[in-house]
Symmetry: none
DNA sequence: CATGAATGAGACTTCATTCAT
DNA sequence: CATGAATGAAGTCTCATTCAT
């Protein structure tokens, strides 16, 4: 009747609700871990009925993967904001590094969520594969560095794994000791990374 | 007083069973993840009745922590087998690095289990604290390196975090692409690490 | 803050179900004893899924205590229906006695449940404490009797314990021999009680 | 061989062990309740292997019933120690009453155990029936009282139920308030009982 | 489309009893 | 006969998902 007409032009899916579910999931995981995450907690925190959540996501797994992919893409974009093809290799490396370093530290909830996912067997194949896509520009940058003989001739994937692992290991220690992220420490870490890869 | 007698811990009899439970847990976690681990799966895999397991461990949590601590200690020891106080800094660094690198790659099940535990909310305080103990000799080695002005003057914890993270990131890539661990790659990684920290 | 929202109690919706769970629990305990009571039996008897019960009660213990307190309050009220402050001591004593006597006999399930609870280690403190509240008017009545020198000057608690115990002992015998509760027997028991306490 | 000869004349059943199991069961039940009683707790407390216990008792139920019957008989005997057929009704009533009263209060463990059993569905028929046997002499005493027109003409069973219930109710209150058992209180209770039944 | 009570499979854990030593 | 480790059925409780309103 009337109601159906009135609501007919409403979007069948309210993107706000998706965002709310994402946000709530992120916060919950940071508070109780991925293992402690339950659908009813998501529902309560998002102030949505269980059924509503299932109109937006087919399953708990889908919520997790959807958020995972969203964050992955977001992080991949953010990291390049100061990237400029006209800059030197070192300048671009620093540009990327500084944001990655800064974000890893300050967007702790998000990186914590991603880490929990990675060790969780919740991720579907398309989430796992996603990884690669983000690295196009970094690959190009590293190739450029190699062409300039500025960096060691090691497979890009390995270099990227090395660099990301090292940053995360470094920051994990920082957090474990409640140390703030200072300019000096950023420079220390950058120096470690640059010295590592330079030829 | 009766009560105190009754609630005294049961003494397990067959140390083989503890080992079997550990082994089975390790394998199961590598197959189905820590979140998928259930007591009945452990029982079935170890060919023990559910109740038997509870003769040896008070809870699932205790199995996990017990295995975690066992592996931590084992790894901490292994890494030093070629360490020799009379060697140079670089020689000792290489000695430790090579084993750590090799073990991280080949004892994948064990390192995977430890990683799963670290992000799991299953670890008890004594498991978490354990971490520190293992690093005594590495700390000494790094101090020596700093005294020789061989390496950068950065806090040991951060260096260790950096190095372990970088090795694990490097190896994660290797595995993701099913690449074998060759002598050449070990040297590559060692070079990356040494160049990173040298002053 | 999210946490506080999440862990807020679920509000049950259907008060009928609470009643049904109470009723079924009462019947089950009379058939199989409190020790034989299991959640799955409650579920089956109430024709509710196991999980549903946990929407209304947090635990088995809570079901038991909830029913215990409900019955306690119900009995405490019932016993006073013919109580009238303008009546004489003896008339009021008789008024209370007759209903208590009658109810103890005919609401066997309920009194059996309460007795099982009392010896069970299931009762929480608030259930145990509840006891006292019910006796306010009886205390007043006994005080009145003492003032009139109608009854012995013995502490009210002891008198109440004596009277309730004696009635229950008397009725237990009646039931053991499948004897019906007649007017004559009620008078016999009343006479025993009145003669006991009169000074 | 030799051993079997040497031990051949040993009693196959060591009565000491039975006693120890009884004793330990009694204590355990008073500490943790009948519901908390487990075979392994009995074993630990009695310092006997589980198997040993099963050579003396077929089941947990048998231990409980065996102890129940033992205590019932013991109590039935004890109560008559000052009974003397040549004494007056009142003297004998007092003789029995005082011991019963005293024992109910001071052998709390034993009476607690019996009460737990009574509400437990553990008792076998022969334990339940046992009740009756103990009352032969009390029945005779009450008959004597009736013949003398000293007491009300109410069925003995009901009188006994009334009297035992009243004593236990009275003492339960005493214990609930941590009141000591004094001579005065014993006399109070005796007066209540005697006045109740006297014609 | 929104809701959240209902569901039941499955998780962890206990314990009476057995049986190999 | 003594032992106590081994067993597995059964208990309590959780939670992803559904469906009637």
């Amino acid at each position: 009747m009337l109601l159906s007409i009135i609501f007919a032009d409403m979007k069948p899916r309210d993107p706000q609700k998706i965002e709310r579910i994402h946000q709530v999931t992120l916060t919950l995981v940071s508070e109780i871990g991925l293992a402690g995450l339950t659908m009813s907690k998501i529902g309560k925190a998002a102030k949505l009925g269980m059924g509503t959540i299932y109109t937006y996501f087919e399953s708990k797994e889908e919520i997790i993967n959807s958020l995972y992919q969203f964050l992955k893409r977001k992080h991949a974009e953010e990291v390049y904001v100061n990237f400029d093809e006209n800059q030197s290799f070192t300048a671009n490396f620093r540009a990327i590094f500084e944001i990655f370093f800064h974000n890893c530290y300050h967007q702790e909830e998000e990186y914590f969520f991603l880490e929990q996912c990675r060790t969780s067997h919740f991720l579907t194949l398309d989430s796992i594969v996603l990884e690669e896509a983000a690295f196009a520009r970094i690959n190009a940058l590293l190739d450029e560095g190699k062409a300039e003989k500025a960096i060691k001739n090691i497979a890009n994937d390995l270099l990227i794994g090395f660099l990301m692992g090292s940053v995360q290991g470094f920051l994990a220690q920082l957090r474990r000791q409640d140390l703030p992220l200072t300019k000096a420490r950023t420079e220390e870490a950058l120096a470690l990374c640059l010295d590592a890869i330079k030829s």
